[in-house]
């Protein structure tokens, strides 16, 4: 009986050890990123704009957090809400780790993207998101720094989601087609390494 118990316990321990070994190997396998990797990571240009509450918003104040940065306009009905929903879903996919991610939505239509309009837009997704706006001159400088092309009064604009790490470096960019699961998988891999 004791002998039988010994083999059962040994068997269970072996299975646990094998599972732990397999998990370790899987965790250390190089992750194939779904987004476009920026290598080496480049410092994300800092900027100061006005948030949806009418307060000054300094981008560098988000150091220590992961940031999803997106450029769009508040009365957009297609690409911008789709990108915001995608970022929200990716955050949700990460569970408790999702709280480490701050979403920042930067205006592309200065006259239309008033703080009030930005508040209405970002609140549809999460009131904790930042809706940053400013004057044409302020925003043009930010667009140029991030390589964002804005035309037709802001209604035609680049459609990139920038992922910025807690050190303030641009790590990845995403463009359609991409899923929330793919973005979340990339983030998990990046967070594991930090």
């Amino acid at each position: 009986m004791d002998r039988k118990l010994f083999w059962v316990v040994t068997g269970i321990l072996l299975v646990i050890a094998a599972a732990a070994g397999a998990a370790t190997i899987i965790n250390h396998l190089p992750h194939s990123f779904n987004g476009s990797v920026i290598n080496p990571p480049a410092p994300a240009p800092d900027f100061t704009l006005t948030d949806q509450h009418g307060q000054f918003f300094e981008f560098s104040s988000l150091r220590g957090k992961y940031v999803f940065l997106y450029f769009g306009y508040s009365h957009c009905t297609n690409a911008c809400p789709a990108a915001m929903a995608l970022m929200t879903q990716a955050r949700n996919q990460l569970g408790s780790q999702g709280s480490q991610i701050q979403v920042v939505f930067v205006a592309t239509d200065p006259p239309g993207d008033t703080p009030q309009a930005m508040a209405t837009f970002v609140d549809r997704f999460d009131p904790s998101y930042v809706g940053a706006t400013g004057t044409q001159a302020q925003l043009s400088a930010v667009w140029a720094e991030y390589g964002v092309v804005v035309e037709d009064g802001g209604e035609t604009h680049s459609d990139y989601i920038y992922l910025i790490d807690p050190s303030g470096n641009m790590r990845m960019t995403y463009s359609q087609p991409i899923t929330a699961e793919e973005i979340a998988a990339d983030l998990r891999a990046i967070m594991r390494k930090v």
């Binding site: 476009s36 990797v37 920026i38 290598n39 080496p40 990571p41 480049a42 140029a144 720094e145 991030y146 390589g147 092309v149 680049s158 990139y160 920038y162 641009m170 960019t173 463009s175």
Partner: protein, 166 residues
């Protein structure tokens, strides 16, 4: 007679295959499919000063590139401003890359061409296998046609049949 027929067809196919070699090669070249290397990482470097030159309408880099399926295009930015190419954002001093896993003629918006577009022609690699496939597809039907044509021009005669005396 059966052996002769078979031999005639085999000879026709051999001639068809031989003739197909230059024709398929010409066809591949005519289609612009001349990349016979395996997939690899191709680095495209945006030189310093590109943005300033592009603003004045100067072309710094070629307009079109040819790749094979499976290539990875890595764009390295040595310029002082952010550049973009389709889904890629490339900050100064950094690189970004994309896998070219699908055949086709792609046209991406970019910031380092005066036209604001870059053409990427992604081809199937022109390997020995693809060449042989082309030769077989063209050569075998051609050979059969040759054999049939030769049978019309010069029919196979039975050796054991002696012509009737007049």
């Amino acid at each position: 007679m059966r052996t002769r027929l078979i031999l005639r067809f085999l000879a026709g196919i051999a001639v068809g295959l031989l003739l197909a070699i230059p024709f398929t090669e010409l066809a591949f070249r005519w289609q612009g499919n001349t990349t016979s290397r395996p997939a690899k990482t191709v680095v495209l470097t945006i030189p310093a000063g590109t943005s300033a030159k592009v603003d004045t309408g100067q072309k710094v880099l070629p307009q079109d590139y040819v790749f094979v399926v499976g290539d990875v295009l890595m764009v390295h930015n040595e310029d002082s401003v952010v550049h973009t190419l389709g889904p890629l954002v490339i900050p100064p001093g950094s690189s970004a890359s994309m896998a070219l896993n699908h055949l086709g003629n792609l046209s991406y918006t970019c910031t380092f061409q005066p036209t604001k577009y870059l053409g990427l022609n992604v081809q199937a690699p022109l390997t020995l296998g693809l060449r042989l496939e082309g030769i077989a597809i063209a050569g075998i039907p051609l050979g059969i046609l040759f054999a049939l044509y030769s049978l019309i021009v010069r029919p196979v005669k039975r050796k054991d049949i002696t012509p009737l005396a007049p």
